[in-house]
Symmetry: C2
Subunit: 335 residues, 2 copies
DNA sequence: GTCTTGGCTGTCACCGATGACAGCGCTTGC
DNA sequence: GCAAGCGCTGTCATCGGTGACAGCCAAGAC
């Protein structure tokens, strides 16, 4: 910064004021400083500012992985919003137990970011407590967290509408397929199932437990097994509701492999509106992943800028049923 | 830190030494300091250390988006490798021209990270020059950059093997479909086409320009038009080589919509080995995206730790042909 | 007994910004 | 003509660590 000051013929203080956009700098000086800064490719050393201001200009994001459609979409929504606010994006992808222990032990986000966004991350009570006394703003994304601001969708309501759509098409035997819950923390899965069951109940349909299935190894051979089991039931389902689109894609592949025509024999419904859902013609419940990210940043900014970190504020974004080719009336409908 | 020093009855310097694990601290002192630090739940302020050491403990990544399969996979490879090295991950997703101008104007990565990884980002000469005088280590990922370390795959060779596979199956009329090049910087696209053409040439097949097609609006209606055009040629192709898997997925959808059986009438080959390629049974050229990320981090560490930033080192990772159901012999093959 | 050595610890300048405060030149009011 | 006010800019202490250097003390060499 001293270099810039020297080149522009002013003091470091003026350079600082100019680069921070304070109004108490004359236009001519400002122009000179900006020119000098550009010529020297000068960029603020955040460490130094942080030391004085106590703010880092960085926002940390904690997520269970980086490659899933939902998470990468959410990140895509955050990035431009953060950039616009002049905030940098620090990503902590914590996948396995070892990384997890390490993260909560070292708490690298501490004092290293102005806020921490927790995205789709099922915290144990101990972890939650640890984050709570981090003394930094916490924002929860795609999950409801009591006592902290959060942004999410109403999974239960969305699933309810999904199942209702299938019922309205004439389906009476509707299976619900979910990923095998290794962690015990698949809250959205639970909520979606609850919505599904409620829709059945609302329609006066009985709940057949054999139509709710957890599928282990669903990315491998587990899906074929599940399809075989369902299709060989005494009274097989005419519609399958998959917990996520990704799951539904494998389901479609397994059905194709088993020569089960979709939707002629069974309808398939997903959840997410993954990019590929459109390509594959999958009926699904669209979840605004990008918008969730964007909104989370808005919330974060308001928390940081007003330092009302303790304020509890919950935003629920809408989901939307997107009917496509994978759902239709059941084989014997209308007869 | 002063508090800890006071409580432990030592100087700040000793506290610093203790917490950094330097060996020149006696065991008794170390124990006292550690106890004091724990009691006060002291965490060091990285900004302050950075200011002195000049190292930030952060690595910045510049990529054109966050949601594509390739980029999110590459990130997935980087994250654990960085964490293992105790480095934080700073992500700059620069998509539109406005963000782009802003990024290269403000150069936010400068002095705020120990290295910058440029992933699949087509730089203009001016931008490249700008990064070059950033004075920080630069590592290029999924692209070759003269004068800087880089990690990438040999697109040309991979495409050559892909086309050769089709030729070996008996195909003689092979079309190559690429995304419409808005930017003029689709280097991998160019290299893949070159490999394709070389394979044709090697096999003594003539290159029919009408079989190389850029598809505008390939995510919308453009694909159907392209398929229509190809399939109504005097001598239509029996195999289609799509520049990327994502592209191939849309192509498969368009073919299905046009009732063109795959691979009975036309074979389809992709490039990437996107997760969905397996689900959809797409033959493709696997590109080790996660491994590229991991390797990039290894390279980065070596550059940072040995401060041999100027050293040029190029690593080429292997691609692999993954035959699946979308390719087979041409309709009239063997006759 | 003196000198050297090595282990351990303290002192203090410094990293690069920020912000409080002072100062400068000029206009305005009286 | 002088004081007050305003707009703009410079000076300097400061943030929380690090690292160079000096100092102290006990052990061992001569």
């Amino acid at each position: 910064m001293a270099d810039v000051a020297h080149r522009a013929g002013v003091s470091v203080s003026t350079v600082s004021r100019t680069l921070r956009g304070l109004s108490t700098v004359s236009d001519t000086t400002r122009a000179r400083v900006e020119a000098a800064a550009r010529e020297l490719s000068f960029a603020i050393t955040r460490s130094a500012s942080s030391l004085v201001t106590g703010r880092t200009g960085r926002v940390a994001v904690l997520m269970p992985n980086l490659a899933s459609w939902f998470l990468s979409s959410a990140l895509s929504g955050m990035a431009p919003a953060l950039r616009e606010a002049g905030l940098d994006l620090l990503v902590y992808s914590v996948t396995d137990v070892h990384e997890r222990a390490d993260f909560f032990d070292r708490l690298p986000a501490r004092r290293n970011a102005d806020a921490l966004l927790v995205v789709s991350f099922a915290l144990t009570p101990a972890e939650r407590a640890r984050l709570d006394d981090l003394g930094m703003p916490l924002i929860f994304v795609s999950q409801h967290a009591p006592g902290r601001p959060s942004v999410y969708v109403d999974d239960e309501d969305a699933a309810l509408r999904g199942t209702r759509h299938l019922i309205n098409l004439g389906h009476r035997r509707i299976a619900f397929l979910q990923t095998f819950d290794e962690t015990g923390f698949a809250w959205s899965s639970k909520n979606r199932l609850a919505g599904h069951l409620r829709a059945l109940d609302d329609a006066g349909l009985e709940h057949d437990p054999s139509l709710v299935m957890s599928v282990p190894d669903w990315k491998g051979g587990g899906m074929a097994t599940a399809v075989g089991r369902l299709m060989s039931l005494q009274d097989p389902p005419t519609a399958l509701f998959a917990e996520t689109d990704d799951f539904a894609f494998r389901l479609l592949a397994a059905l194709r492999a088993a020569n089960v025509p979709v939707p002629a024999q069974v309808s398939v419904m997903g959840f997410d509106d993954h990019v590929m859902a459109e390509v594959l013609g999958l009926t699904t419940l669209a979840q605004p992943a990008v918008e969730l990210g964007r909104t989370a940043v808005r919330l974060t900014r308001s928390v940081i800028e007003n330092s009302d970190g303790a304020q509890e504020r919950h935003i629920v974004l809408p989901t939307e049923l997107v009917p496509r080719g994978s759902t239709g009336p059941p084989p014997a409908a209308g007869s």
